[in-house]
């Protein structure tokens, strides 16, 4: 899980071009939207694409999305659950 969290942070930094941010600047529980990293709706779309393209996880329900994207830990748990379900 810790390895996935570390990788996800790097993925997020790359996907969203957060040039001045490094992995140590935020942790698994830092809010991603509004406060914390302060991402917005366009970033949300990019993260959804990242989850789908790299991790094979498709999240269509808006409520579920808000939940999964709230921080890196939630994203990691979702990916792990998906991998376990699908073998």
């Amino acid at each position: 899980m810790e390895e996935l969290i570390r990788q996800l942070k790097l993925d997020i930094i790359e996907a969203l071009s957060l040039e001045d941010v490094v992995a140590d600047d935020f942790d698994a529980d830092t809010p991603l939207f509004v406060e914390g990293l302060g991402l917005d709706s366009i970033d949300a779309l990019e993260l959804i694409l990242l989850m789908e393209r790299k991790y094979g996880v498709k999240i269509e329900d808006p409520k579920e999305r808000r939940n999964v994207l709230r921080n890196v830990r939630a994203m990691a748990i979702c990916i792990t659950n998906h991998t376990n379900t699908n073998g």
Partner: protein, 359 residues
């Protein structure tokens, strides 16, 4: 319809962004393209917004911010941008994802940024500016259309201050494709471009912004934008029709040919397309006309006339014609009326008349 140019700001392949005047050092490059010397954007744009921006957006935003601050921080009543190709880099990026990745899209941002009005829209968003906002994208008429609209806004009293820009970026693919059409010379020093006696030119890019303002009745000083005119010659452009259009335009601006002190020519070193300029120099403009060229400094691109406007503006203000752009050896004289004439591949022609109101 006329207006005053209050301020300007240019990001170009020359050292032009840090101060408004003509740079003291000329950037010489040996290449088939000229690339902009860019400022440190972190000083000008919020880093959180910066991260999402393709290069052309950064250039446009930075140039706009600098221009606004040089104009005294005035909030523009209109934001008008001309760009021949828009956010070309991001358009190419998204296009290649659609084609190469079999429509598996990994990022939505290039699509959003690829809309031509991205620069004008971003400027408005940063300034929280709700006023008139528009983008023109018609090749070598893009900037002229923007300037024309600015004059109309002021004439209609819809605007007192208009932020007008001309911006284009040069990409690797653009140079490659247009190379097939013989657009470019083999790599050479840009300072050898004009009068090089061969076909082709050198690719360029730039972001040039101006604050154009309504002229109060009593205030006749300042650099005055007297008029703009464009005409298309899609088949063959003959000298007679060019001369006729220039004559018509000057008459409309209530200016005599003999009153033109200097002409800024859009010579680009392509010996085929430069013929029209040489013919005008020889047989049309008065003998003591000063001629200036600029595309050896900024390269050839659709909105290069915005760079020319900046050059005309700083020349009229300082009353000094920089050696680097002076094509004639006529002794210095006051330059009151400056005509800008550009001819893009004998198809799109534009004329801009500037006047120093103080003289």
């Amino acid at each position: 319809m006329k207006a005053i140019i209050k301020a300007s700001s240019v990001i170009s392949p020359q050292h032009t962004h840090s101060a408004e005047g003509f740079p003291s050092v000329i950037n010489e490059v040996i290449s088939d393209r000229l690339t902009c010397l860019e400022p440190d954007y972190r000083n000008l744009i919020n880093p959180i917004q910066l991260r999402r921006m393709p290069r052309i957006l950064k250039m446009g935003l930075a140039a706009s911010q600098l221009c606004i601050s040089r104009a005294g921080g005035v909030d523009p009543d209109a934001i008008i941008v001309g760009t021949g190709l828009g956010c070309l880099d991001n358009l190419e990026k998204f296009l290649l994802e659609v084609i190469d990745n079999q429509e598996r899209i990994t990022s939505v941002l290039p699509f959003i940024n690829s809309t031509h009005n991205a620069v004008a829209a971003q400027v408005a968003m940063l300034l929280k500016n709700h006023n008139y906002n528009i983008t023109y994208c018609h090749r070598a008429f893009s900037f002229e259309s923007a300037l024309q609209d600015a004059l109309m806004q002021i004439e209609e009293k819809q605007a007192q201050h208009v932020l007008v820009g001309g911006i284009d970026e040069c990409t690797h693919d653009y140079v490659k494709l247009h190379g097939y059409l013989g657009y470019w010379k083999k790599p050479l020093s840009n300072l050898q471009l004009l009068g090089s006696g061969s076909s082709g030119t050198i690719a360029g890019e730039g972001a040039s912004f101006f604050m154009v303002s309504g002229q109060p009745d009593k205030d006749v000083t300042g650099i005055i934008l007297q008029g703009i005119h464009t005409f298309l010659t899609p088949q063959v452009s003959d000298l007679d029709s060019i001369e006729h259009e220039i004559t018509w335009f000057l008459r409309k601006c209530r200016t005599e040919l003999q009153d033109i002190d200097g002409v800024l020519l859009g010579l680009n070193g392509d010996n085929h397309f430069d013929q029209a300029y040489y013919a005008l120099q020889k047989g049309f403009f008065p003998d003591q006309t000063i001629y200036m060229g600029y595309k050896h400094l900024c390269g050839e691109y659709y909105t290069a006339t915005a760079f020319a406007l900046w050059l005309g503006f700083v020349t009229l203000k300082s009353q000094q014609i920089p050696d680097a752009v002076n094509l004639t050896r006529i002794p210095d004289k006051p330059v009151k009326n400056l005509l800008l004439y550009n001819n893009f591949r004998n198809t799109e022609h534009s004329l801009i008349l500037l006047k120093n109101g103080a003289l």
